[in-house]
């Protein structure tokens, strides 16, 4: 990547005084924009969270409702993320290792959740599993609760994080090609051996990368989960929903305290993401386009 850009050796593109001034102005404008638009909101979360002091912050986080929201959020992520890892591996294996009819249609269908509004995503599951939905009467006869209960929250979370692992793995495995796997098969390895000994070691960083994105989104998802949750305190509120409820009760310090935990998750996500990019070359430029819509 070095050697590109403006640092050309060519005398023709040596910046003049005016261009150098222009460069400083542009960099300054970008930095000021980022500071006001991105950094300030993050700083504000922590300032508000600690505005009543450390003890108040600690108490806010140790409230029973916040703790149970934290547990539910973790539980949902622990179910939704492995499911989507499995799907991502299966989909990318089928798509990158075989030629079949309708491949590009399948890739487009996998992208659908990126285009759907989170609220509509939540509503979809209400339409299927809600009391007035397709399976609603049957579910209620059997005393099964999906909407306004944890299973609905898991489903909504699975939907919004659906493409994340697959979208990392497909271009990565496409670029890698299948030579090593074919060699293993020719040498007599069976399918599982090929997967565990050849494929998985090759894709592990791309898989981890996609998994981090999926986990981060599933922890922070708000709109889709909000529609299916029912907002029952202590039972069906995830951490982002708890933030909303505290905020709407004008309990701002507690809302921002809970929000600060989510902000930490976001910051950790960014650090991990960039570390993997820097250390392994996973997720090269040009592949980033439609991430995380």
């Amino acid at each position: 990547m070095s050697g590109r850009g403006c640092h050309s050796s060519s005398a023709l593109l040596q910046p003049s005084m005016g261009q150098r001034a222009g460069r400083v102005v542009l960099i300054a404008a970008a930095l000021i924009f980022l500071a006001i638009f991105l950094v300030l909101p993050v700083v504000a979360v922590f300032m508000q969270a600690f505005s009543q002091g450390w003890a108040m912050y600690r108490d806010s986080i140790h409230q029973q409702d916040v703790l149970s929201a934290l547990r539910l959020t973790a539980l949902v992520a622990c179910i939704a993320v492995p499911l989507n890892m499995l799907f991502g591996i299966a989909a990318s294996w089928a798509i990158t290792r075989f030629e079949f009819h309708g491949k590009s249609l399948l890739i487009t269908l996998i992208d659908i959740p990126l285009a759907v509004s989170p609220v509509v995503a939540g509503l979809m599951y209400v339409e299927v599993f809600g009391l007035h939905g397709w399976l609603g009467p049957w579910l209620s006869d059997h005393n099964l609760h999906i909407i306004f209960a944890a299973p609905g929250i898991v489903l909504a979370t699975v939907f919004v994080t659906f493409p994340f692992v697959a979208r990392e793995l497909i271009p990565f495995m496409q670029a890698q090609g299948s030579d090593e796997e074919v060699a293993a098969v020719v040498l007599g390895a069976n399918g599982w051996n090929v997967f565990w000994r050849v494929t998985l070691p090759n894709i592990k960083w791309a898989l981890l990368y996609g998994t981090i994105l999926a986990a981060s989104r599933s922890i922070g998802e708000f709109g889709a989960v909000s529609v299916v949750s029912g907002h029952i305190r202590g039972l069906t509120t995830t951490l982002p929903l708890e933030v909303e409820m505290l905020y709407n009760e004008y309990n701002f310090t507690a809302a921002f305290a809970a929000a600060s935990l989510l902000t930490l998750v976001a910051v950790v996500t960014l650090v991990l993401k960039k570390s993997i990019e820097a250390a392994t070359g996973v997720h090269q430029r040009g592949q980033e386009k439609e991430d995380e819509l």
């Binding site: 060519s10 261009q19 504000a44 079949f100 509509v120 489903l155 922070g220």
Partner: protein, 287 residues
């Protein structure tokens, strides 16, 4: 592990492969896709279709719903333009210049992707409220952000602009400096080099990024509802209207509006795919 079937008339596979696992991986992929995405999506569309054409149109063009489209699409368009401007600036600076802390800036651009929308929503509201850090300097000048359409635009720009940066940045980084050198050697000034050499290459990426930002903004919920004020007819977005309908147990109304939103989402997706197809074809021709 089932062996891949080849050459059979019913087979999906168009080319044989020595690798195993096609039926297993494809079967799981299609089942999962159908259960998680396709069936629920169909449920909404069928519910909306049960209304019948006249009643559907009546529902999705009710005055309050129309007003919500105006708010949502107007704000999303403004946010997409803002995102395009600032996204282009950031992509340019990141692709072209070296400066201290560049890697941190590059990582920060992804923050809106990673920050939960509810957190962004309450934080932006706190900043732009009358007594907030930014709001207190704007209010005396008569600029009201929180609880106005301007606030909606701010929140939508926050979630939208990384799409522009991440679409444009790689294109600018891949641009061969030799092209600019050639232009410079032929006497092109900075402005001409930008409009004649860089812009034609970067434009499709900018268009894609802006469309993605618009799509995300139009469907956005979490970061908007806190700062919007949510006044019906004035600052109520369509996504919130769906939630409101649900809370009033008007499931059919919610499904109808959701179907309208889905139509919009899929149109944008189509435009983006067509743009990319057009770019690929153009580049294919050039090579």
């Amino acid at each position: 592990m089932p062996e891949t079937k080849r050459g059979k008339p019913w087979s999906l596979v168009t080319q044989s492969s020595p690798l195993p696992g096609f039926r297993l991986s494809m079967g799981f992929t299609l089942t999962y896709l159908t259960v998680i995405v396709l069936i629920p999506l169909t449920a909404i569309l069928l519910h909306a279709a049960r209304l019948g054409w006249v009643a559907f149109l009546h529902t999705v063009t009710a005055p309050r719903v129309l007003a919500s489209y105006r708010v949502t699409l107007g704000s999303a368009a403004a946010a997409a333009l803002l995102s395009a401007a600032f996204g282009l600036l950031l992509a340019w600076v990141l692709a072209r210049y070296d400066f201290p802390g560049k890697r941190i800036v590059d990582a920060l651009v992804d923050l809106p992707f990673a920050l939960p929308t509810a957190v962004a929503g309450i934080s932006l509201t706190a900043l732009y409220a009358e007594n907030g850090w930014i709001g207190r300097y704007l209010e005396p000048h008569g600029i009201h952000v929180a609880f106005t359409p301007l606030g909606i635009v701010m929140a939508m720009s926050f979630v939208g602009f990384p799409f522009v940066v991440r679409s444009v940045q790689p294109v600018l980084e891949d641009l061969d400096p030799a092209m600019e050198e050639a232009a410079a050697s032929l006497g092109a000034n900075v402005w001409q080099r930008f409009t004649r050499v860089i812009a034609p290459v970067a434009f499709p990426a900018l268009l894609t990024g802006t469309a993605l930002a618009f799509a995300r903004a139009a469907g956005e919920y979490g970061s908007v509802i806190f700062i919007a004020g949510n006044m019906p007819m004035k600052t109520e977005i369509t996504a919130l209207l769906i939630v409101t309908k649900l809370e009033e147990f008007d499931y059919t109304g919610a499904a109808a509006i959701a179907a309208a939103m889905l139509a919009l989402s899929f149109s944008i997706m189509l435009v983006i795919n067509l743009t990319q197809w057009w770019v690929q074809r153009r580049e294919g021709k050039r090579v």
